[in-house]
C-alpha cells in the first residue's frame, strides 16, 4: 500500500520531471518563434498596430488566433477575408456597415474627420493584421469542411463573386460590395445595384457617392472620401449596369 512519504515522493518527482521538460520545450519554442512568426517583418508599424490592439482591448470582443472574446468575429485572417480597403472604411465608422446589428465601438483615432493621425493609425492596425496572418498557426482557422448550398452572401473577393462582378474596379469589389449586391452577390445593407444606370444619371451618381448626406440627409451610406480617379472608375462601371 502506498505510504504518505511515497505519495510525497511521487508529487515531488513528477513535478520536477514535468517542470524540467516544460522549460526545455519552452526554450526550443522560443528558438523557433522568430521563424514561425516572421520576426524580420515585425516592423515599428506592426508593433504600433499591436499597441493599438492592446490599448483598446480589441480582444475584449474579438478573438485573434482564437484567443479573446466571442462577441465579435475572429480576426486572424481578416485581410484575406475582407481586404484592406473594406477594413479601412469599416473602421472609420463600424456601425454604418451593419446598421441595427451588434455594435462595434467607433474609435475616434480611426476617423480622419476627427483625428489627423487616423490614417496612420489605420496603417498600423492593418500592418499588424498583415503580420499576424502570416504567423504559422498550424492551420488555424481551419477552412470550412462541410459544403452547403446556403444562400448567404459571399465575402467580397470570394470565388463565386468573381463572375458576378466582372469588370468592376477593385475598390468596388472590396468595399461597395460589403453593402450592395450585383447579380445576387454582395451585401444587403444597401439596395442591389443591378440596373442602377437605368434609374440615375451619371451626375447624380457622382454627387451621391461623393457625399451621400448632401443628397439625402439621414442616409446610412457613408461618404467614402474617394479620390477623383476611383470615383470616375466606379461611376463608369455603374453605368454598365443597365
Amino acid at each position: 500500500m502506498l505510504s504518505k512519504s511515497g505519495a510525497k515522493a511521487f508529487f515531488l518527482g513528477g513535478t520536477f520531471l514535468c517542470a524540467t521538460a516544460f522549460v526545455l520545450l519552452t526554450l526550443d519554442t522560443l528558438a523557433q518563434f522568430p521563424e514561425r512568426s516572421n520576426e524580420e517583418n515585425l516592423t515599428e508599424e506592426v508593433i504600433a498596430g499591436w499597441k493599438i490592439w492592446e490599448r483598446s482591448n480589441c480582444m475584449g470582443c474579438h478573438t485573434l488566433m482564437g484567443e479573446g472574446a466571442y462577441y465579435a468575429p475572429e480576426l486572424t485572417r481578416v485581410i484575406e477575408r475582407r481586404g484592406t480597403p473594406w477594413i479601412r472604411e469599416f473602421l472609420k465608422d463600424p456601425q454604418k456597415f451593419f446598421p441595427g446589428r451588434r455594435k462595434m465601438i467607433k474609435y475616434d483615432f480611426f476617423d480622419p474627420a476627427v483625428d489627423p493621425e487616423a490614417d496612420e493609425n489605420l496603417d498600423h492596425i492593418l500592418a499588424f493584421f498583415a503580420w499576424i496572418q502570416e504567423v504559422d498557426t498550424n492551420g488555424f482557422p481551419p477552412k470550412p469542411d462541410i459544403v452547403t448550398q446556403q444562400a448567404a452572401a459571399p465575402m467580397p473577393g470570394a470565388a463565386s463573386a468573381v463572375d458576378a462582378w466582372a469588370g468592376a474596379p477593385d475598390y468596388f469589389k472590396a468595399v461597395c460590395t460589403g453593402c450592395h449586391a450585383v447579380a445576387g452577390q454582395g451585401g444587403n445593407v444597401g439596395p442591389a445595384l443591378d440596373g442602377v444606370a437605368t434609374r440615375y444619371e451619371r451626375d447624380y451618381l457622382v454627387n451621391w457617392i461623393a457625399d451621400p448626406q448632401a443628397v439625402k440627409p439621414g442616409t446610412t451610406m457613408p461618404a467614402l472620401g474617394l479620390d477623383p480617379e476611383t470615383l470616375e472608375q466606379i461611376v463608369s462601371y455603374l453605368e454598365t449596369l443597365k
Binding site: K4, W53, C58, C61, L64, D145
Partner: protein, 443 residues
C-alpha cells in the same frame, strides 16, 4: 473558532461575496447585449463589461483564498496569526487596488490581455500586497506548533500562484510571445497551482468534517496534487496548438491535457469516499454539501467539459468559440467558486457562534445556484456547438450565425437569473450570521 485572529477572515469573505454579486451584474450586461439590448454600449461596451466580469471573478476568488488561508493556517499551525494588524493593512490595500482596477477599466485604463487586464503599475501593487500576505502566513506557520501537510500544500499553492503572476508582467514586442507567456499565468494557475489550494482546502474541510485520520487524507492529497502537476504543466500545450508555437505541442499538449481530468476525478472520488467512510455525522450538512458539490462539479466543469475540447482535432474547430465559454463557466464555478463558498459555509457558524445552516435559505442556495449554472452551461453549449457547425464548418458569416443562435442567449439569461437568486440567498445566509463573535474565546 480557536483563535481570535481567525475572525479576520470575515472581512475577506464579506468582500468576496460583495464582488461576486457585482460580477453577476456585469454578466447580465453581456447577456443582454447578446440579445441586442445593448443600451449601455456608449458607457459600458462589451469589452469593458467582460474585463470587469472576469477580473471581479479572479479578484473575489483570490480574496476568498486569502480569507480561507487566514482561517485555516492559524488552526493548522495552532497559534494566533503572526500579525493581525498586517492582515488588516493587507485587506484594505487589496480592496483599494481591486476597486481602482475595476473603476479604471471603465476609462480604458487596462491592457488588452484577457484575464490580465490590470495595468502594469497596479501589477506591482498586487505583487507587494500578495508578498505581505504570504509573509504573514509564512511567519504564522514558522512560529506555529505544527507544520501540517495541508498547511504546507496550501502555502506552496499560494506562493507559486504569486510567482507565476510574474511572467504575465514581462513586456514583449511580439504578440505571439505575449500570448505564450500569458498562459503561464492563466493556465498554470487554474490547471496547476490553484488546484493545490483547492486540494488543501478540501483536505482541511474533510479532516474537520469527516473525522477521518489526517494521515490518510493527506496521503491522498499528495497523490492528487501529484497528478495535477504531472498532467497540468505540460498540459499548458493545449493553448499552444494554434497560436504560433511549434507543431509538437499538438502531441505534448494533447496527451498531457487529456490526463488532467484524472486529478479532478481523483478529487471527486476522494471527497466522496472520505465522506462515506467518515464516522462522524457533522451537523453542518450544508458545508458538507458544498464540499462534496465542489469536488463533483469541478470534475464535471474542468475535467469532463475540459476534456471535451482539449484534443487538437476537436480544438481546431472549437478554439475561440462559445464552447470555451461553456467550459470556462462550469470549471471556475465548480472548482474555485464552490470551494470558496464551501469554506465560508463551514467557517461562519464557528466564527460567529450562531447556527444558520439549518432551514431553507442555505439549502435552496446550494441547489438554485447549481441548477442555474448547469442551465447556463447548457445554453453556452448549444450556442457554441451551433457556432462551430454554422460558422467554422460551413462558413456562414459570423454575425448571421450570432443572430441565428440569439434565442439561446435568452436561455442563458433565464438560467443566469436562477443562478443569481441562489447567489443572493447565499449572501443573505451569510449576512444572517452577523459579525464574528470573539467573546466566547476571551471567556
Amino acid at each position: 473558532m480557536k483563535f481570535k485572529s481567525q475572525s479576520i477572515s470575515w472581512a475577506f469573505f464579506a468582500a468576496a461575496l460583495g464582488l461576486f454579486a457585482l460580477q453577476l451584474v456585469y454578466g447580465f450586461i453581456m447577456g443582454f447585449a447578446r440579445v441586442g439590448m445593448d443600451g449601455l454600449h456608449e458607457w459600458i461596451p462589451f469589452n469593458v463589461a467582460r474585463a470587469v466580469h472576469t477580473n471581479l471573478l479572479v479578484v473575489w476568488l483570490i480574496t476568498g483564498f486569502m480569507g480561507a488561508a487566514y482561517w485555516i493556517i492559524p488552526d493548522e499551525a495552532d497559534r494566533e496569526l503572526w500579525s493581525p494588524k498586517l492582515a488588516w493593512i493587507q485587506f484594505w490595500s487589496l480592496m483599494a487596488v481591486g476597486v481602482t482596477a475595476v473603476i479604471g477599466y471603465h476609462f480604458q485604463w487596462w491592457e488588452g490581455r484577457k484575464f490580465l487586464e490590470i495595468p502594469r503599475a497596479l501589477d506591482w501593487l498586487v505583487v507587494a500586497n500578495v508578498l505581505t500576505f504570504l509573509f504573514n502566513i509564512l511567519m504564522t506557520i514558522w512560529k506555529g506548533r505544527h507544520m501540517t501537510t495541508t498547511a504546507s500544500v496550501l502555502f506552496f499553492g499560494l506562493l507559486t500562484a504569486a510567482l507565476l503572476y510574474l511572467p504575465g508582467m514581462i513586456t514583449f514586442e511580439s504578440a505571439v510571445l505575449d500570448s505564450y507567456f500569458r498562459w503561464w499565468v492563466v493556465h498554470l494557475w487554474v490547471e496547476g497551482v490553484w488546484e493545490l489550494i483547492l486540494g488543501a482546502v478540501l483536505s482541511y474541510l474533510l479532516i474537520k468534517m469527516t473525522g477521518i485520520d489526517r494521515e490518510i487524507i493527506e496521503k491522498w492529497l499528495y497523490v492528487i496534487v501529484g497528478l495535477t502537476f504531472l498532467s497540468g504543466i505540460l498540459g499548458t500545450g493545449h493553448h499552444y496548438y494554434y497560436t504560433g508555437a511549434p507543431r509538437y505541442w499538438l502531441i505534448v499538449g494533447g496527451v498531457f491535457s487529456a490526463l488532467e481530468p484524472l486529478a479532478f476525478l481523483g478529487m471527486a472520488i476522494y471527497a466522496i469516499a472520505m465522506a462515506r467512510k467518515g464516522g462522524r455525522d457533522h451537523p453542518n450538512k450544508v458545508a458538507m454539501r458544498w464540499t462534496l458539490g465542489c469536488a463533483v462539479m469541478s470534475f464535471i466543469g474542468a475535467g469532463f467539459l475540459g476534456f471535451a475540447h482539449t484534443l487538437p482535432q476537436v480544438n481546431m474547430w472549437t478554439h475561440g468559440t462559445l464552447v470555451t465559454a461553456m467550459h470556462g463557466h462550469m470549471a471556475f464555478w465548480g472548482a474555485y467558486a464552490m470551494m470558496v463558498l464551501a469554506i465560508i459555509a463551514y467557517a461562519m457558524p464557528q466564527m460567529t457562534g450562531r447556527v444558520r445552516y439549518r432551514g431553507w435559505v442555505a439549502e435552496t442556495s446550494f441547489w438554485t445556484t447549481n441548477i442555474g449554472m448547469a442551465g447556463m452551461t447548457g445554453a453556452f453549449a448549444v450556442m457554441g456547438i451551433a457556432q462551430v457547425y454554422l460558422e467554422r464548418k460551413s462558413g456562414m458569416d459570423f454575425l448571421d450565425v450570432q443572430e441565428a443562435i440569439e434565442v439561446h442567449s435568452w436561455g442563458l439569461i433565464l438560467a443566469a437569473s436562477l443562478f443569481a437568486v441562489g447567489a443572493l440567498l447565499f449572501i443573505r445566509n451569510f449576512l444572517s450570521y452577523g459579525r464574528p463573535n470573539t467573546e466566547e474565546l476571551a471567556a
